[in-house]
């Protein structure tokens, strides 16, 4: 069935239609097997058909589960470079990177998008990316370039911070918290839900923010106080947001404070069900509580299409792709020349003073910090 995505010149759309009709047959499996065999045979027997245009080359882009791109944007690249882009989704950010590292000797793809700053050191130490100084880098702010050798190039960034259910606080007559310490105040007892840093990337980001704010000596005391104040820790972001956060769960949850992203409020409007024009959740600007995540792309060493991979890196940093980023992946484009949608400028202002953590320190201490935290939270 791989052949449907192969070099037979079948476009993405035709491939999809073929798939649907396969499913309707009386013996779908047999039919599809037969089809696949015929397609493979066709690809192999017929040499490149004498046509004006060459068959498109296939570029394999490996990435994590949250990658999204507009159909037209992708088609523009494919048309311009006579290429076909195959996307391999390899799991969450950590899992995907590990798979890339494990397949170092026989790369799974030509390039990989989705290394974030918490995994940057691991990715660079594994020596799986090739340096590429893209001409587009000139447009990108220096503060986002965390790899001096340009093996990993910044594509987007976002902020993990606290969201609050503004209406809940107003109805309860409690002011919104103003500092991280407020979260440990009895007035906010049982109101806060956070994902587990051991299994969730926003969970880890928030833990790192508290380490930055309270220092390595003080962060555990802060979490002890949070625990005494009945903080709820869930396994992942989805459970925190959709089960327990009052806004995300549509009222079923009972926690009006959650660790999420600065772009969750615009998503709350875009994906609302009641036609609301302003989000029900707001970003809290507690000093030292926002953590900046930067996502990078890199060309894999040993790529079979290195030239095309570099073209795709240029494309990802260019304005067309960058303008598509906010409403596809709900993060900010790294290229400041890409316009932000109104929703972002209205409801997702970047936090004034985010925590910028040294990637090397994260990789070196991650396990120790998380284990120490887990001990405090469970003992």
């Amino acid at each position: 069935m791989q052949a449907q995505r192969g070099d037979c010149g079948m476009t993405r759309r035709e491939g999809r239609r073929a798939r649907i009709s396969v499913g309707r047959g009386k013996f779908p499996l047999l039919v599809s097997v037969a089809m696949a065999v015929m397609l493979v045979a066709a690809c192999q027997v017929t040499p490149a058909r004498p046509s004006v245009q060459q068959a498109p080359a296939t570029l394999v882009l490996a990435t994590h589960d949250s990658f999204a791109i507009g159909e037209e944007v992708l088609a523009a690249f494919e048309a311009e470079h006579n290429a076909q882009v195959q996307v391999l989704t390899l799991g969450d950010a950590g899992e995907a990177l590990n798979k890339i590292i494990l397949s170092k000797d026989a790369p799974l793809a030509d390039l990989f998008f989705g290394v974030d700053n918490t995994f940057l050191s691991r990715a660079l130490a594994a020596d799986v990316f090739e340096s590429y100084v893209s001409p587009q880098l000139a447009q990108i702010p220096d503060e986002l370039k965390l790899d001096a050798e340009s093996r990993l190039l910044p594509v987007d960034y976002g902020f993990v911070n606290l969201n609050a259910d503004a209406a809940w606080f107003e109805a309860a007559g409690i002011p919104l918290p103003q500092t991280l310490d407020d979260l440990a105040d009895p007035a906010y007892r049982g109101l806060f839900v956070a994902p587990n840093p051991a299994s969730s990337s926003p969970g880890l980001a928030f833990l790192l923010a508290t380490i930055d704010s309270f220092g390595e000596e003080g962060y555990l005391d802060f979490w002890r106080a949070l625990r005494a104040n009945d903080v709820l820790v869930t396994d992942g972001w989805s459970e925190a947001y959709f089960e327990h956060f009052t806004v995300g769960s549509g009222g079923a949850g009972d926690r009006p404070l959650v660790v999420s992203y600065s772009t969750s409020p615009p998503a709350d409007v875009v994906y609302a069900t009641d036609g609301r024009t302003a989000p029900a959740s707001v970003n809290l600007a507690l000093p030292g509580s926002a953590f900046r995540q930067v996502e990078f792309v890199g060309v894999l060493a040993g790529a079979s299409q290195p030239e095309l991979a570099r073209d795709f890196v240029d494309f990802m940093l260019g304005e067309q792709f960058q303008s598509d980023i906010p409403l596809q992946m709900f993060v900010y484009p790294a290229n400041p020349n890409a316009p932000l949608p109104d929703l972002f400028t209205q409801f997702a202002q970047a936090p004034a003073d985010p925590v910028l953590f040294d990637p090397a320190a994260i990789e070196a201490n991650r396990e120790r910090w998380v284990q120490a935290w887990a001990e405090v939270m469970t003992r």
């Binding site: 390899l90 494990l102 992942g236 995300g248």
Partner: protein, 550 residues
């Protein structure tokens, strides 16, 4: 010639396991332990002496054992009712009870929260009814919730496998015992239970292995305080990329699984006895009001316990907050407002899921049946190796094996065939375990009689074996299908297949904020339930040509 054919046939399932299980597992162990020996050894020793390691082992084992016992206790009465009684809506209910088996953990967690969370329906109702200050049910992040959900997930295994075997038991033993003056419970204890034990232990073993390697349930519902070996392997392999430790823990997990299986195989050999089975089940309409009350009572309790969380999900998928009924979430499934390139409309996702499930069926059913025949051979030399090997995939860390695929699978790595292969690895033990008790119970005299009457080997198989094994075949087909629909072993896959399935659409929706995404996840879960139920009912209705209803 015939001997050669038999050997070639028996080699097929072994080849499958060697290629897709043993080889990648050895490959990842080799890579993981490729570091300097003293370091690897020191880490293993450090792990062995740490108290956390031993409490991890202890918790993993006791929660799995307790979950299994509870599942068997909860499942047996239902297995009995489905084996012995006919009542309106039976086949639909039978299918509905298997739905939990395929549901993604995140969705089940939200369903349970909607019911018994602090703001859940039960708590708010009870609070209003009993005028309480605090919610009376507080199970969030407790071991009780883990146990309850394990029962919820795995009860179908008991109902289907034990119930299927029970339905084939003739009444003659019970009747003789009753004639000799045994009270009903005495009949159960001295006659029925011993006859059922092989089937109960076989099903119990599968439940145990599922709970032993439990991952999502423990992580999502257990909170911080609970972790199984599987959870720790995942953290070490993915979060910390500590492959040597992950591999070491995987081996410990395998050794424990292997020990359990050796105990099981010993027990099983002692328990199984061949007996005359009935070709048709002997379920009948309840005869009197006492039987009717029994059936209705048991079904009511099940309905409340098992189906309420699912009903809660369905209701929420059709409800728009406080604004009453809606179809909005279902409409949204078919829309692609941002023109995203990887969008899959629901029809495509359903078609993809069914396609993978059919492929899984096509791989696992023949291989499993061959495997079961091989194990049933009297004094088979292969059985000693093959028996535990077949079950080991269930007790193996999926993330470890998945990493093994990357190292070992070469060009197959990104092939869409990897999905049905991974599903088959999980489905194979089910097929073998449901077939084996039925096969061992086959009365060999019947086949000998057929041979004496002049039937060739194929003919005697078709006329003697096939009808008696049909029920086991249907049960295992249902499981193979459900396992694939529920995306078991998804972490085995290197890449998400580029044909999105129903569970994938659910996970995608739940990874983004916004109420519409949550609604879409609920709507797709409801569709997944409906498709699963329809598929299971279709499988149950399947008949051999010329056969009447059973």
């Amino acid at each position: 010639m015939r001997r050669f054919l038999t050997v070639a046939l028996f080699a097929l399932p072994m080849l499958f396991l060697a290629l897709f299980y043993v080889y990648p597992l050895l490959a990842i162990f080799r890579v993981s332990f490729s570091g300097p020996r003293p370091e690897v050894g020191a880490q293993a020793v450090a792990t062995l002496v740490s108290p956390t390691f031993w409490s991890l082992l202890w918790f993993t084992t006791w929660q799995a054992a307790l979950s299994t016992v509870l599942t068997v206790i909860a499942g047996l009465p239902l297995a009995y009712i489905f084996a012995r009684f006919d009542f309106p809506g039976k086949s639909i209910l039978h299918a509905l009870l298997t739905i939990p088996f395929v549901m993604p953990t995140v969705v089940v967690a939200t369903a349970f929260m909607a019911l018994i969370g602090r703001n859940g329906v039960l708590n708010t109702g009870l609070q209003a009814l009993l005028v309480l200050d605090a919610p009376p049910i507080q199970l969030e992040q407790t071991i009780w919730l883990i146990l309850i959900v394990h029962v919820f997930y795995n009860i179908a295994i008991i109902i289907r496998t034990v119930g299927g075997f029970w339905g084939n038991l003739g009444p003659q033993f019970n009747e003789s015992a009753a004639m000799l003056g045994a009270a009903p419970w005495q009949v159960f204890r001295t006659v029925t239970l011993p006859l059922l034990l092989p089937s109960i232990t076989a099903a119990g073993l599968l439940v145990f292995l599922f709970c032993f390697t439990s991952f999502g349930v423990v992580l999502i519902l257990g909170g911080l305080r609970f972790a199984t070996i599987e959870v720790e392997i995942y953290r070490q392999a993915v979060s910390y990329f500590n492959l040597p430790l992950a591999a070491f823990l995987s081996i410990v997990q395998l050794l424990l699984t292997f020990t359990v299986m050796v105990i099981y195989t010993r027990m099983q050999a002692r328990l199984s006895r061949s007996l005359r089975q009935r070709q048709r089940g002997l379920s009948r309409v309840p005869a009197n009001w006492r039987q009717w009350t029994l059936v209705a009572g048991a079904l009511f309790v099940t309905g409340v316990g098992l189906l309420m969380p699912l009903v809660a999900l369905v209701v929420r998928s059709f409800t728009l907050g406080d604004q009453g009924p809606t179809l909005l979430y279902y409409q949204a499934l078919g829309e692609n407002p941002r023109q995203s390139a990887f969008f899959a409309p629901p029809v495509t996702a359903i078609a993809n899921s069914l396609l993978y499930a059919l492929a899984t069926l096509a791989i696992s059913l023949p291989l499993g049946v061959i495997g079961a025949y091989m194990l049933a051979q009297p004094r088979s030399r292969w059985a000693a190796i093959f028996d535990p090997l077949l079950l080991l995939p269930l007790g193996t860390s999926a993330v470890t094996l998945g990493f093994g695929y990357i190292v070992a699978m070469g060009p197959l790595r990104a092939s869409p065939w990897l999905a049905p292969i991974a599903h088959s690895l999980i489905a194979l033990p089910f097929v073998v375990r449901t077939f084996l008790p039925a096969l061992r119970a086959l009365d060999r005299r019947l086949r000998e009689a057929a041979a004496t009457l002049g039937a060739g080997p194929l003919q005697s198989w078709w006329t003697v074996d096939a009808p008696l094994l049909l029920r086991a075949g249907l049960i295992s087909a249902a499981f193979a299908f459900a396992i694939s629909l529920g995306e078991f072993g998804a972490t085995l896959l290197i890449a998400r297949p580029d044909r999105p399935t129903m569970p994938m659409v659910i996970y995608q929706a739940l990874s983004r904020p916004g109420l519409i995404h949550y609604g879409q996840a609920l709507a797709m879960s409801t569709i997944l339930m409906a498709v699963t139920a329809a598929a299971l009912i279709a499988i149950e209705r399947f008949r051999l040509p010329g056969e009447e209803e059973f």
